[in-house]
Symmetry: C2
């Protein structure tokens, strides 16, 4: 069953665990996200890297390591499977939704489902709590599907799963000029921290430290090191 | 051999992988850090939680999951072991160092070593790079041992190890008013991002999402969800 390009009436959204068959769409969605954030110069993902890093063999249990979730939309109800994390019924009767890219995003699960978004998350750790938390690296929904409660459904679902498995907190980042997003997150109960800044070593600035963590007995003069 | 409380002449620092024997000192150091940051109200760690979350059985390979490193100081050279990540010789000839707490921090490795700090780090993930990175949750050195190049040694060592195992970046957080730390990190080659804000769901605000990520087929009206 081919995916439609216009959705109307009832549409079923499923957030489910991804597998390696989803890599081509994950790649395309990450690229769309990079375009949206004007950061395509930082984009270096490949199908091969995504496959090896997100879907290693053996695959760790969901939410215990890097975890990819896929948002699929379907014109008919989606039977829950072991991979289902959350689902939502959209009522588009009043306003049909055009998804010109639908033909480019057929879900590998078939059934006329269309892939419309993804989540990447992984455990982090709080020393004060002495507990793991969940860090949400990305939540992305393709443009035609925004403002239908899908982002809320996705974030609620991963927060719910984190709470259920005993994680102490869920964290993510937002750009300080994105007031709509900040309002939305605060409405969901999140605290937005204004004082903390992220520091990053990458590229040549990181490579220059190779050899300083080699496990060999490296002896330096303290005066030179500071 | 008992640990001295005053160190002079040459002193050897070793950054090494921690094990469950280090939990009592890790606990005390986290508490000192909470006091330093005026955040003791958030402190909820226990020996039992630290042991079960940082030192599970089987223990994952270092830097592939939550990883604790310990900084030990010794008045005599420390032979490198499989657990050594980095080491540094300090020359205190010009200015002996008093460590009044030394007797409370004997290293469980013995040999008159004194535990003076710790690092907690774990992998994170960059979708743009499609690669793991390393997130440094904490780097802490007890007060008497600061300003001797030990923080630089510790951060360099974990950055070096991350680069060597193919990670794409190393990240951590700093408070925006801590200009000394910001200057130090920038001097080490890090970029400090001014636009990103951390969002956090925790406590009751997180618990209310239990049941939304249950894997059951949950059907909501889209209008109500947004």
């Amino acid at each position: 069953m081919a995916a439609p390009t216009t959705f109307s009436g009832e549409v079923w959204a499923e957030l489910r665990l991804a597998d390696a068959r989803d890599v081509p769409h994950i790649y395309s969605l990450i690229h769309q996200m990079a375009e949206f954030e004007l950061l395509t110069d930082l984009f270096a993902a490949t199908h091969e890297l995504l496959t090896s890093t997100l879907f290693p063999t053996p695959q760790p249990a969901p939410f215990t390591s890097f975890t990819a979730l896929i948002l699929d939309l379907s014109p008919s109800p989606v039977p829950a499977s072991a991979d289902t994390v959350s689902s939502l019924r959209l009522d588009l009767a009043a306003s049909p939704l055009a998804d010109p890219e639908a033909a480019a995003f057929p879900s590998p699960r078939g059934g006329g489902h269309v892939t419309a978004g993804f989540v990447i998350c992984f455990p982090n750790y709080s020393t004060f709590l002495a507990k793991p938390g969940l860090y949400v690296e990305d939540i992305f929904v393709r443009a035609p599907w925004r403002r239908h409660g899908l982002g809320r459904m996705m974030l609620s679902a991963v927060a719910g799963r984190a709470a259920e498995i005993g994680m102490g907190r869920v964290e993510w980042c937002v750009l300080d000029w994105n007031q709509n997003a900040i309002d939305f997150y605060e409405q969901m109960g999140a605290e937005v921290f204004t004082k903390w800044r992220i520091c990053r070593l990458t590229g040549p600035a990181l490579d220059k430290y190779k050899g300083t963590g080699s496990g060999s007995q490296e002896v330096k003069d303290a005066g030179k090191a500071e």
